[in-house]
Subunit: 410 residues, 2 copies
C-alpha cells in the first residue's frame, strides 16, 4: 500500500480522490500496488465528505508519519505551500504539485532539497493541466536538444481571443462572457496580463535547460489591448492573434517572453481554440512535436497530479531526465531588446501613402496590408531588432499609432 | 558503457548512429552512462562509413556477445526480423523496433518472450515517427482509461489529401507529386490502401487495452477513390477529408477501422496538413490529448528509436505501464457492420428533389448539402448502422451513386 497525503482539498485536491477511485484498476497495473489517501490537510472540515476522517490541520502529523511516501500539494501560493513542501521533502517524502507559482519562484531550492533527500519533486500539473508535456520532455524528448518552445499556455485568454475572432467581440465583452462561464476569475489579471503564461514558460524552459530564469528577465506583455481591428487585420494577413509563451534556446543563452502575436494560419497553433492549450517543441532530431489538450479543469489537472503520483510510486520518476535546476546566471537570459521580430503596425492617418513611405524609411522594405479600413495605414515590417522597433514606435514618426503586434518568430 | 547493436543499416539504422552522436550529452544526462554501437548487422559492407569496422553479417555474433544489452531492429518485414528479434530476446537482450508490421503481426509472442526473459520490447518508432505517443500512453495516460483514438497516422496519404484540398489536384496527380518528392513509394499501396494506418491503430489499441486485434478484424478502406468533388463537398459541409485510423474502446469490446472520413473544420485533426501526423486520445479524466508532429522521416524515426534505447538503458522502460498483450479473443473486436456513422452521399441524377425524397425514405431525416453542382443530389444521412447503410448503397435505390464517405464519429 502506498500512502499519500493531499495538501489543500479544493478543486484539484478533491479531483485527486475522484481520479484515484475512478482509475483504480489502471493505476494498479502501473504501480503494482494500491494508492491510499491517508491524510488531507485543510483549514476546513469536510463533514459530508467520505474523506472526512482523513482531514487534519497540522502538517507535522503528515511529516512525522513514516508511512506517507508521497505528498500532493494543491494549495497554491508561495507561503505555506513552500513551507509544507520543504517539510515534506525534509521528512523524506516525494512531493507532487500543481502550483506553478511555487515551481517558478522557488523551484531551484525545492529541487535541491529533493535531490539531497533522494526524493522527487514533480510538477506535471503545473503546466497545461492534463497535457503530458513535462513527462514528454523528461522521457521521449530527453535525448534531444530543444531549441524553441511556443505555446498557447493559458486557456482563459485563448477563450477570449477565440470569441474575439469568431464573434468580432471586444476584449471586454469576451472577458465578461468567460467570467459568466467560469473560465475567467473575477480578477482576471494573472491570466490576461500574461503572468500565468510567464510562469509556465519559465518552468518548461527550466525542464529543457536546467536553468530557471528570474521572472524579471521574462518580458511579459498584456493581451488586454488586442482589439477587433487587430483580429480583422490578422485575418487579412492570413492568420490570427494568440497569446504565446515562447522560448528560444541556444547552447549558451535563452530568450523567454510572453506576448500577443500574429500566428500564421498554416501554424498548428493558429487552430487551437477555446480553452484548449497547445505547446510546440522544436529540436534538431524530432523536428517538431506539439502537445494539445485541455490546459486546465478539475479532472485533467487532478489526472496530471495522479500521473505524477504513479510515476513517483512506480520508480518511473527516478529514471526520467533529472531536474537539477540552477538559478540562471546573469547574462544567460538575453535582454528582450535583442530579439528580432517583424511587426504588424496600424496608424490612423489622413495621408496613407506618405505614412507607408515614412515606414519604409524607418524599417526598410515593409509590406502594406491589403484591405485596410479608410484612414488607416497598415503594414508588416521586415525583421527588426526589438530595441530599434521600440525606438521607432516611441517617437513622433508614427503619430496616430493605434496598434503594433509582433509576428510569431520562426 | 551500454553496448548496443543495430540490425539493418538503412535509412533509420543509419539515422540512429547520427542521433547518438548528435545528442551524446543529453543522452548521458538521462542514462548516466555512454551508449556505444558495438555491432551493425547488414548484408552489405559499408567501407566508407566510420562504422565500417562494426559491420557483421551473422546474428549469432550479436546474440552471443554478453556485452550487448540492447538491439535496435530497423530491418522491416516479418521474416528475418522476427527470427533475429526472438534470438536477441532469448539471449537476454532488450529489443527496440521501428518495424510496425512485425509488432502488429507478431507482437503477442514477442512480448511474451520478452516478459519471460525479463527484458523489454519497445516500439515507439513503429507509430508516428518522432511523436512520443506510445511513451505518453505508457506513462502519463497510464492511470487513465482510453475510450477513443483517432489519428492521421500516415504522412504520405495526408500529403496527398492536403494537395487535393489546397490545389484541387486529383488523387493521381497528388500521388505523382508525392512520389517525385520522395514522400510516396513507387508502389504506394501500403500507404494509400490503409495498411500502414491499420498496423498503427492495431498497435495503439493494444497499448491501451493489452488486446492485439487480428488484422482481418480491422476494417480498412482505400483512400484512392477520394475525388476533387468529394473535397469540394467536404469544404461546403465545413470540413475536409482525412484518412483516419480509429478505435472505440469500452470495457468489453473495441472497434477498429481505417477509412477516409469527413472531419469537421473545428476538429484539431482537420488542420493537420502535409506529411504531419496527429493522434488524439479521449479518456474520462484527461478529456482529450493530441500529439502532433512529423510522423516519419530519417531523424524523427531514429530519434524515437534512441529514446527507447535510453528508456531501456535507464530502467525507465521497466516502470512504464507493462505491455502484456493477448491475441484479442473472438468477439472482442466488434464487427464493423455494427458501427454507426453518418454518411456524405453524392448521387448523379436528373431529378434531384425526388432523389432527396427517396433518401429521406431510406435514411430518415437527411440534410441536403448546399451548393451542389447541377445534376447532383448531395446529402448527409443521420447516424445509421453500417450494415443498413451498406445495404442501402448496394441496391438500385441510389442508381447514379458517385460517392459515399463516412463522417468522423464523435
Amino acid at each position: 500500500m502506498i500512502h499519500i497525503a493531499i495538501l489543500g482539498f479544493g478543486v484539484v485536491g478533491g479531483g485527486i480522490t475522484e481520479v484515484l477511485e475512478q482509475n483504480k484498476t489502471a493505476l494498479q497495473r502501473m504501480v503494482h500496488d494500491e494508492i491510499h489517501v491517508k491524510y488531507i490537510l485543510d483549514r476546513l472540515e469536510f463533514p459530508d465528505s467520505p474523506y472526512a476522517d482523513r482531514v487534519v490541520h497540522d502538517m507535522s502529523v503528515i511529516a512525522n508519519d513514516p508511512q506517507v511516501s508521497i505528498v500532493c500539494e494543491t494549495m497554491g501560493g508561495v507561503g505555506a505551500a513552500f513551507d509544507f513542501t520543504m517539510q515534506a521533502i525534509q521528512s523524506g517524502k516525494s512531493v507532487v504539485t500543481s502550483n506553478k507559482e511555487l515551481v517558478a519562484k522557488r523551484g531551484v531550492e525545492i529541487l535541491e532539497a529533493a535531490k539531497e533527500m533522494g526524493v522527487s519533486y514533480l510538477c506535471e500539473a503545473s503546466v497545461g493541466g492534463g497535457i503530458p508535456q513535462i513527462r514528454g520532455m523528461r522521457t521521449s524528448l530527453a535525448g534531444d536538444t530543444i531549441t524553441a518552445i511556443d505555446g498557447i499556455m493559458n486557456g482563459t485568454t485563448n477563450y477570449i481571443l477565440t470569441r474575439m475572432r469568431k464573434d468580432g467581440a471586444t476584449f471586454e465583452a469576451a472577458l465578461a462572457e468567460a467570467q459568466t462561464l467560469g473560465y475567467a476569475e473575477a480578477d482576471p489579471s494573472a491570466d490576461v496580463d500574461g503572468l500565468d503564461a510567464q510562469r509556465k514558460i519559465m518552468i518548461l524552459t527550466a525542464i529543457a535547460t536546467n536553468m530557471l530564469a528570474d521572472e524579471k528577465d521574462v518580458y511579459t506583455e498584456t493581451m488586454t489591448k488586442v482589439t477587433p481591428a487587430d483580429m480583422d487585420a490578422a485575418a487579412r494577413w492570413g492568420g490570427t492573434v494568440k497569446l504565446l509563451g515562447s522560448a528560444r534556446i541556444s547552447g549558451e543563452h535563452a530568450s523567454l517572453y510572453v506576448c500577443p502575436v500574429f500566428v500564421p494560419g498554416t501554424s498548428p497553433l493558429a487552430n487551437i481554440d477555446d480553452v484548449y492549450n497547445g505547446i510546440r517543441f522544436v529540436s534538431p532530431v524530432t523536428a517538431d512535436v506539439m502537445y494539445y489538450g485541455r490546459g486546465a479543469g478539475r479532472l485533467p489537472t487532478a489526472g496530471a497530479v495522479v500521473a505524477d503520483v504513479a510515476a513517483a510510486a512506480s520508480g518511473l520518476a527516478d529514471r526520467e531526465l533529472p531536474m537539477e535546476w540552477e538559478a540562471a546566471p546573469a547574462g544567460y537570459v538575453l535582454p528582450f531588446s535583442e530579439n528580432v521580430f517583424s511587426y504588424y503596425v496600424r496608424v490612423k492617418t489622413d495621408t496613407v501613402r506618405e505614412m507607408l513611405e515614412r515606414a519604409s524609411l524607418v524599417f526598410g522594405e515593409i509590406q502594406a496590408l491589403p484591405g485596410s479600413p479608410v484612414g488607416y495605414a497598415e503594414f508588416i515590417t521586415p525583421p527588426t531588432v526589438e530595441a530599434e522597433a521600440a525606438r521607432a514606435f516611441a517617437g513622433n514618426t508614427f503619430a496616430g499609432l493605434e496598434s503594433r503586434i509582433r509576428i510569431m518568430a520562426t
